[in-house]
Subunit: 346 residues, 4 copies
Amino acid sequence: MIKVGIIGSTGYAGQELVRILLQHPDAEIVWYGSRSYIDKKYSDIFGNMFQLVDDVCLGENMDELADKADVIFTATPQGLCSSIINEDILSKTKVIDLSADFRIKDVETYEKWYGIEHKSPEFIDEAVYGLCEINRDDIKKARLIANPGCYPTCSTLSIYPMAKEGLIDMNTVIIDAKSGASGAGRGAKTANLYCEVNESIKAYGVASHRHTPEIEEQLSYASGEKVLINFTPHLVPMNRGILATSYATLKEKVTYDDVKKVYDKYYKDEYFVRVLEKDVCPETRWVEGSNFVDVNFKIDERTNRIIMMGAIDNVVKGAAGQAVQNMNIMFGLDENTGLKLVPMFP
Amino acid sequence: MIKVGIIGSTGYAGQELVRILLQHPDAEIVWYGSRSYIDKKYSDIFGNMFQLVDDVCLGENMDELADKADVIFTATPQGLCSSIINEDILSKTKVIDLSADFRIKDVETYEKWYGIEHKSPEFIDEAVYGLCEINRDDIKKARLIANPGCYPTCSTLSIYPMAKEGLIDMNTVIIDAKSGASGAGRGAKTANLYCEVNESIKAYGVASHRHTPEIEEQLSYASGEKVLINFTPHLVPMNRGILATSYATLKEKVTYDDVKKVYDKYYKDEYFVRVLEKDVCPETRWVEGSNFVDVNFKIDERTNRIIMMGAIDNVVKGAAGQAVQNMNIMFGLDENTGLKLVPMFP
Amino acid sequence: MIKVGIIGSTGYAGQELVRILLQHPDAEIVWYGSRSYIDKKYSDIFGNMFQLVDDVCLGENMDELADKADVIFTATPQGLCSSIINEDILSKTKVIDLSADFRIKDVETYEKWYGIEHKSPEFIDEAVYGLCEINRDDIKKARLIANPGCYPTCSTLSIYPMAKEGLIDMNTVIIDAKSGASGAGRGAKTANLYCEVNESIKAYGVASHRHTPEIEEQLSYASGEKVLINFTPHLVPMNRGILATSYATLKEKVTYDDVKKVYDKYYKDEYFVRVLEKDVCPETRWVEGSNFVDVNFKIDERTNRIIMMGAIDNVVKGAAGQAVQNMNIMFGLDENTGLKLVPMFP
Amino acid sequence: MIKVGIIGSTGYAGQELVRILLQHPDAEIVWYGSRSYIDKKYSDIFGNMFQLVDDVCLGENMDELADKADVIFTATPQGLCSSIINEDILSKTKVIDLSADFRIKDVETYEKWYGIEHKSPEFIDEAVYGLCEINRDDIKKARLIANPGCYPTCSTLSIYPMAKEGLIDMNTVIIDAKSGASGAGRGAKTANLYCEVNESIKAYGVASHRHTPEIEEQLSYASGEKVLINFTPHLVPMNRGILATSYATLKEKVTYDDVKKVYDKYYKDEYFVRVLEKDVCPETRWVEGSNFVDVNFKIDERTNRIIMMGAIDNVVKGAAGQAVQNMNIMFGLDENTGLKLVPMFP
């Protein structure tokens, strides 16, 4: 039984970790961390957990936690994980960080886009970017995982085969992404009130969203060249789900079958990536509550572009689900242990 | 492995049966019945099932199905199950009917409220009303289960202890219930379009809804007297969930602790019924995707009434989940096998 | 041109006052008060007002405001209006208070249910309860209006004819009400976040909501007897709208036509109250954005009860619209001036 | 008083025409046409119109209608207007067609994208494309208006100044658009049910949506060159609203101020087009219920692209509102007569 500690268990990603781990056959939560709710019963905050979780919330005593837990998930704001991690902790326990602290290899880029100083740059190199389908082998040996961002997971996986095979002009990549409101977090802000989000759609962080360099870095690895993209996130009035619609110019004429083969090459053995049938567009409702990534593409011969689409549940594959997938890999379990969640509809 | 056939697998309740049974360790679906989609791939209709279900939809050949399946779920419109059932079928397989055909013991009452002739009244007596927490012992021995309606499940369970213990004046019971849109079914009607349901609430079937006699019958059994109630359902702009707010006059002065003891007497050992803590009101979000019934009550000393509240997921405990719970009981499994679904939030 | 000042112009009710008054032919807003946003451009907060309102938000200098404005709307939390009002202000300007400060004639009842001390009880007697359809004559002469609460407006108007004519047993009145999220206000609370409200329904303030004594007082006036009721509000995932479903036992046997005549007696000449046709249930979508109250009823002969239903837009007839209706009456305008807003659908 | 006939008055656009025209000081509806609801009271279908509209629905007797009405709005499926129009009708009345029949000048393009034969190509040349801000002068003299599509209105107006001034490479234009569900119409289709649309987002019509050639034609006029674009519409769970996020490569380095001047050049005197302040992104909630188009842009120096954004209410500026704006122009009224609708929030 893997003993799990969660720092930040009362955000949406943290709560989803709890939901998933309660149904995981080989894991047991030993620490419900939450700075805001110390000593409060976890199920008083999340009524869904009534009679399922009896624990009260604890603070951030990392030393104690490192002794108790085989793995720590940090589902916390940027800057927290990097400020509390150290060699002693990593020598005792594994850490899966759901924040952005260790996702970007270039510390200057991190500090510029996030506007904060990185408190433990010495671990950046060691940290493995936990996009499981791409970095599985490194994850197996890792002590510290940088769990990918929600948008980067969806965007990268839907573009990856085309980038890797060199079929698209990487300088033409434009990603127009749409997310449900849980992506905005559980902080009490006027902008996130029901009446402010409902019945509206907007773009935000245009040409400046922090997930941009993360996606660029991953697409650079895939394509072998330095990539600059446009990435525009939008807020959609729904609880869960991310849809990424990406555009790129094709380097040469390709058919549907050509491209289908490329996607199948990378994904046909991946349990969590589903390459949809011809002309079927991904919809977030079909992955809700699950760890699936639904991807597909459409070639537009008129403009010589390919439209690549991906859908995930931002709280699962975009956060807690992928984190557990990383845990499974790190501990030598079947990758989909506890994660064969059938998407819930409607 | 229990072999399961589903008639009506492409409605919302039918699809939820599929979702639940795919995750059930001791059941296997052998027949995806759907009159409207014969020969169509199931996962072409429900994209969430892509790569999880490879089957195509079949028709209603009950003889063949009775040979193949250990249990048949009929998630079909009123009148269908009663028109296809017969002794031969029941001698070969068990039937769990999610329609209203066998819920009401008095055939005249059924025919009056439903406006159709009952085609197999000879099985009404045998059929067991599958409200598991109340009729568990009879369910064990049943061949034919009348799976309770969504509103009756939620209403009856939230009022049952008070009725059974004779603490309320049964002639004063008023049930004001609210349901998400999946309760209206998957038929293509203008009234159920997104833009017609969204951003609105309405009552419907006022003083005439078909679940009224079903609730009255169950409350009559509980209280030992003939009960007439007011039942008013409302349509709420959300996918899932039923909340029932019920009112009744107290026969004598009781305290919170008195009533709490009464609820605990009936429910403290029930896995699926959660009596909430004092002053916590049930919310449908806390049971979404699960088979839980959250109940609680509030005594109003000013008016000498008790307000009894219950929340369920109408598609789970109000339909598919309770049907599987019945199956578990009928086949001697642990009642919550495959049903320990943690509610999904948000 | 009536010069209007608004205190609390950046809440949902305040903003709706702005929307309505901008389209009012005889009114002009001269003061956008908002404690939280002083010196900030109004249209920076509410983008719908861009290029329509150029003003910046001001504070609460009541003396200056009383000199400038012919009427002041206070769309503020409980306790504010009563703490700033005085004879000098009322001698210079009229005040329409959208809070509860002057709604309840018995100061002890107010202080008990609201948990605060009333700062100017000397004006309670003078204040007129601005339920226009009932108190029109007094409103004409008033200096100070207590604009009714949203739930009380909807509840009282849907029950009033039956109470006034003595056709129902007032001790049996139960009001089960449902409101959209704008009723919870614009404060940044976790409980009001999109993901917390969406896809759920719950009761709140059961047997303890502050609108209870307000409704009881109005129904007492109507029926001529002291009335105690049960009132249960619910939160519904939609922006606007209140539906009240009320139950009462009939004193004697009445037909649909009998009751219809009673409703018509009080409402057939009322522009804003629409008694719907037989068997048509009020729906909040049909009044959205308008000042209408849609009412109807259903007699249940089985239980000898009547179910009375009413629907309003809580922000309009439940707040800003009725406030403007009061203004129109006070200033001798046609009551529906600037208020002939056609409900917006979908 | 302009006498107005509406063919297709029971779709969402038709109903919105009614809402707007009821509040229009110089227009009067004389014909509520609806093939599906002949002889049915209009307010029985749309309860918001109860006591506001007493008329019953009529059929499509164009000759009678042409005699009665000064202008006919056809809010009907593609192919209907072109099949009933003729010289006689146009000699007696003006026609504003909300369908696509006369939007595309090249009949082959129309027939290819719409898959139907054009029944009156002889009127295509005469028809004026009713994008009021661009074609105002031609509209004044027109007998037949092709009211623009919802997506083309939003897309074209947000890109127009850049195209007209030659500042962007027209071959790089990509439009990623998002629409509320009213854009899908009021037909009873399973895909448009509440539970199918709610809590999900998807792209549809990828590289094949019929609004593509319409947008291309308008951008070609603006830029003076033949334009091919990518246009991807998405369905968003909300009633109203379209947001278009468009991308293009800049031909040369420009600053924010340069581009702001360009937008102001075309729009600063336009009542209905609001160029937002720097860094403010259009949101559909801020235009809901109004005829406004909110536009803005962001320059991304890293990629040398401009992101152009526009938001409209698809039912108003994207359909009925623009149709009335066209009517106003054709009849010599102030363009915003009856259209100074303040956006409704929340």
